[in-house]
């Protein structure tokens, strides 16, 4: 039985082998595995940092120099973080609860700020940025070491400025938040202070990109800046000299560009309204400053759309206009008199635009060549200066509504009217079928020519179609007593146009009762008495009894009654 028990003990001991290690070493230390190597790390004080750093010499140098995480007092005892004998796959480096990327980099002596704080470890601790593998191997550092990366910007970043700033510290201008912009850079400290418009410029406007080795970078120094032309192209191509600042200021190129510019130095001194213009009114973009200016139309559009181009002076604007303004034009009655239609009479008092109205360009019959002022735009309405004829009806309406067209066709309105006044009519009534004589010649026209459509805008005197007979105008005061069939104008048997009093009536011839004797001395009313008929008064001429007793009834009583006609 004793033998059996010993065999059982040995059988149990066999799987354990002869090893006395409390567990396998991590992969990085596996070469130290084995019971014969314990004392390479352990001594009677346990596992001391001195033993660790005897191998990890690179780290030892940093600890000795007081640099880095491991030089901190709380990180001096290696085994407090790097627990061993936890198995081959155990990660010797413990990064804390937040993992490797949550490591507080400030513990290493280099706090990460800005964009650096958001980087992952491998973004910086990459192979190419560590020391060479040979260097690391010689120093005893493991493959996974984080050592070998300098704290300076150049350790990771290429010099974007290609040495323009020498060994100056990048952080003087740049912050860790971002590469652009460079908040630490103050252009006021540079030789060229940014003022006015220059202050708002993007850097690359003055510091253009340059190529080097297939990559571009911006040239910051040296940059020529003594003259404006170092950066700016001279739009005047040297015509106005090199002293840009005599006209221009840095605040703005445009609004103050002529602040000190004397236009009189040019071939076109500004006068009149031209003085108040913005430069850009004439010097448009991309036109330069040398402009044609011999003719007004070099800048201005032809407001008359070529209506005057047929003139001997080809319609030169200066004939009527000057730089004091387009209107009023220097074109008065004298100038008008030199046209085909001199202004006389009432026309002298008529405003220009009463005749020269603004009309669409199509109605003028021609369009001008596109000038600089039009710049391709369609011309607007223009004042009509030229007329196809100068007849009155081209401007005036016919107030007679065609009643007098017969006369109009022969000699126009001027046959009756003059330009002095509409109402001053010079009509010769004798040329009509009704020559005015006697009292007719003294009458106002309206006595016969009644107003048609009186009280309306169309009212006008009735000129045509008037009756020529007396009764066409006059009423018959005799109420038809003297009318006889077949007699065209019975009035003229007794009356003339000279007077109403009958001068032609011969009682002996023109009546059946010749007056003789005492009858000649009688007044007419003795026999022809007034009476009222139909509500109207009249003098009874006919029929009238002609017997004696018809008038003398009292004196001839008993006399045989006679008959009168």
């Amino acid at each position: 039985m004793r033998t059996r028990a010993l065999a059982l003990a040995l059988m149990l001991a066999a799987p354990a082998g002869a090893q006395i290690s409390p567990g396998p070493l991590a992969r990085g230390h596996e070469q130290l595995e084995g019971s014969g190597q314990c004392l390479k790390c352990h001594d009677q004080k346990g596992v001391s940092a001195e033993r660790c750093l005897a191998c990890h010499t690179l780290l030892g140098e940093r600890v000795a120099a007081g640099r880095g995480l491991h030089a901190r007092a709380e990180y001096r005892d290696c085994k407090r973080c790097h627990m061993e004998h936890q198995g081959r796959g155990f990660e010797l480096v413990f990064w804390g609860e937040r993992g490797r990327d949550g490591f507080d980099h400030a513990l290493t002596g280099l706090g990460l700020q800005g964009k650096h704080a958001r980087l992952r470890c491998d973004d910086c601790h990459r192979g190419r940025q560590k020391r060479s593998p040979q260097q690391l191997a010689a120093a005893g550092a493991g493959v996974g070491t984080f050592l070998g990366l300098g704290a300076g910007c150049a350790a990771c970043h290429a010099d974007e400025h290609r040495g323009q700033f020498g060994a100056r510290d990048c952080t003087v201008c740049h912050k860790q938040e971002s590469w652009k912009p460079a908040p630490g850079f103050d252009h006021a400290r540079a030789a060229f202070k940014l003022e006015g418009k220059h202050a708002g410029l993007a850097c690359d406007k003055c510091h253009p990109a340059q190529a080097e080795g297939g990559k571009s970078y911006q040239r910051y120094v040296p940059v020529a800046f003594k003259e404006c032309s170092s950066c700016h192209r001279d739009p005047h191509t040297g015509r106005l000299g090199a002293a840009c600042s005599s006209c221009h200021a840095v605040d703005s190129w445009r609004p103050q560009k002529l602040a000190g510019f004397d236009h009189d130095r040019t071939s076109y001194p500004l006068r009149g309204r031209h003085r108040g213009l913005e430069c850009s009114a004439c010097h448009r973009a991309n036109q330069g400053y040398k402009l044609a200016h011999a003719r007004c139309l070099d800048c201005h559009a032809d407001a008359h759309l070529g209506q005057l181009s047929a003139r001997a002076d080809q319609g030169r604007c200066e004939a009527c206009h000057d730089v004091s303004g387009f209107s009023p034009a220097r074109f008065g009655p004298e100038e008008h008199a030199r046209t085909r239609y001199a202004l006389v009479g009432a026309h002298l008092a008529v405003p220009c635009d009463a005749c020269h109205k603004r009309v669409p360009p199509e109605s003028l019959g021609r369009l001008p060549a596109a000038g600089p002022a039009l710049a391709g735009r369609r011309p607007g309405p223009a004042t009509r200066l030229r007329f196809a004829s100068t007849r009155c009806v081209d401007c005036h309406k016919d107030p007679h509504l065609g009643e007098v067209d017969k006369h109009m066709r022969t000699s126009g309105c001027e046959s009756c009217h003059v330009v002095d006044s509409w109402r001053q009519v010079r009509f010769e009534h004798d040329r009509t079928r009704f020559a005015l004589a006697g009292a007719h010649a003294r009458l106002a026209c309206g006595k016969c020519h009644e107003r048609l459509e009186a009280g309306t805008p169309r009212q006008r005197p009735k000129l045509a179609g008037l009756a020529l007979a007396c009764e066409g105008c006059h009423e018959d005061p005799h109420q038809g007593q003297l009318t006889r069939a077949g007699l065209a104008s019975p009035c003229e048997r007794c009356h003339t146009t000279t007077d109403w009093k009958p001068t032609r009536f011969d009682h002996a011839k023109d009546s059946t009762f010749a007056l003789d004797g005492a009858h000649n001395r009688l007044g007419c009313v003795t026999c022809h008495k007034a009476e009222t008929q139909g509500g109207q008064k009249l003098v009874r001429y006919k029929p009238l009894r002609t017997a004696c007793r018809d008038c003398h009834a009292g004196r001839l009583a008993g006399v045989r009654e006679g008959t009168s006609r």
Binding site: M1, A9, A18, Q19, P22, H42, K45, R80, F90
Partner: protein
């Protein structure tokens, strides 16, 4: 007095062990690969501020319990108390020591020390079995084993008391002796298994036997059961006298080699620990 002190010591040791186990439960339950990152690592690991003293204390107890062996073998020590007390102390240290060592190991057992550990576990468990077998062999108060004649005399006394005090006749006594007793002729392992199985049955069988005894006042049934239990146990020990002594002999053969292995590798483990810097207070 000694008994009370021993019980108190057991209670105190159990409370301390339970408290330590509870405080380190989170660490002990953590998977091995994660333990190194556990906040309790430097406290409860084998070399930790708690783990290391536990190991020292446990190991010390395992060494001290060897005093029982010395007491048995060195005559000069006989005056230092009866052997049964030494055994009680031996058992106490043999139980508490492994518990402390287990906590010291933080349930991470590997390497050479595993031999010592598992040997310790075997020795401790076998000690429990040994204590059981030890009880099967009647002894004096001082722990000395009784002879066969002494047992037979005690058996006769018990039979007479059962007849006089409770009116049990010869047939009833035979019935009591015939309650489950393993046959002594089927080998030591069958004997051991039979002992354990009968002990599980005995209470139920004794109660059935007491109920079958007529004429015993109800107030004396508990006394009858106690006396019947003594009678049955004594009779079984008489019946299995040879087998029990042989079994106890081979238990020693099993218990001691594992103890030797345990001590051997424990010494190596302690030596290595001291050599690698794990002396007291250096962890």
């Amino acid at each position: 007095m000694f008994r009370k002190t021993l019980v108190l010591a057991y209670l105190l040791a159990a409370a301390c062990a339970a408290l330590l186990a509870a405080r380190g439960a989170a660490f002990y339950a953590a998977p091995l690969p994660l333990r190194a990152r556990h906040p309790g690592y430097w406290t409860y690991k084998a070399g930790g501020s708690v783990g290391h003293p536990l190991g020292v204390a446990g190991s010390t107890m395992m060494v001290l319990l060897l005093g029982y062996s010395l007491r048995k073998r060195v005559r000069a020590l006989r005056r230092l108390g009866p052997l049964s007390r030494w055994l009680d102390v031996h058992i106490f240290l043999g139980l508490l020591g492994p518990v402390l060592v287990i906590l010291h190991s933080s349930f991470k057992v590997q390497g050479l020390v595993a031999l010592s550990f598992w040997s310790m576990v075997v020795v401790a468990l076998s000690g429990v079995l040994g204590r059981y077998l030890y009880l099967q062999i009647p002894r004096t108060r001082a722990g000395e084993a009784l002879s066969l004649e002494e047992l037979q005399a005690r058996d006769r006394v018990l039979s007479r008391r059962l007849g006089l005090e409770f009116g049990l006749d010869e047939a009833a006594l035979r019935r009591l002796e015939a309650l489950s007793t393993p046959p002594p002729s089927r080998g030591l392992l069958a004997l051991l298994v039979g002992l354990l199985r009968d002990d599980l049955r005995r209470g139920r069988e004794l109660r059935a036997f007491v109920r079958s005894c007529r004429g015993v006042p109800a107030g004396l049934l508990r006394d009858l059961e106690a006396l019947a239990r003594q009678k049955h146990a004594l009779h079984r020990r008489l019946m299995l006298w040879d087998g029990l002594h042989e079994l106890f002999h081979y238990w020693h053969v099993f218990h001691k080699p594992f103890a030797v292995v345990m001590y051997l590798f424990m010494v190596v483990h302690v030596a290595v620990a001291l050599a690698t810097g794990y002396a007291w207070g250096t962890s």
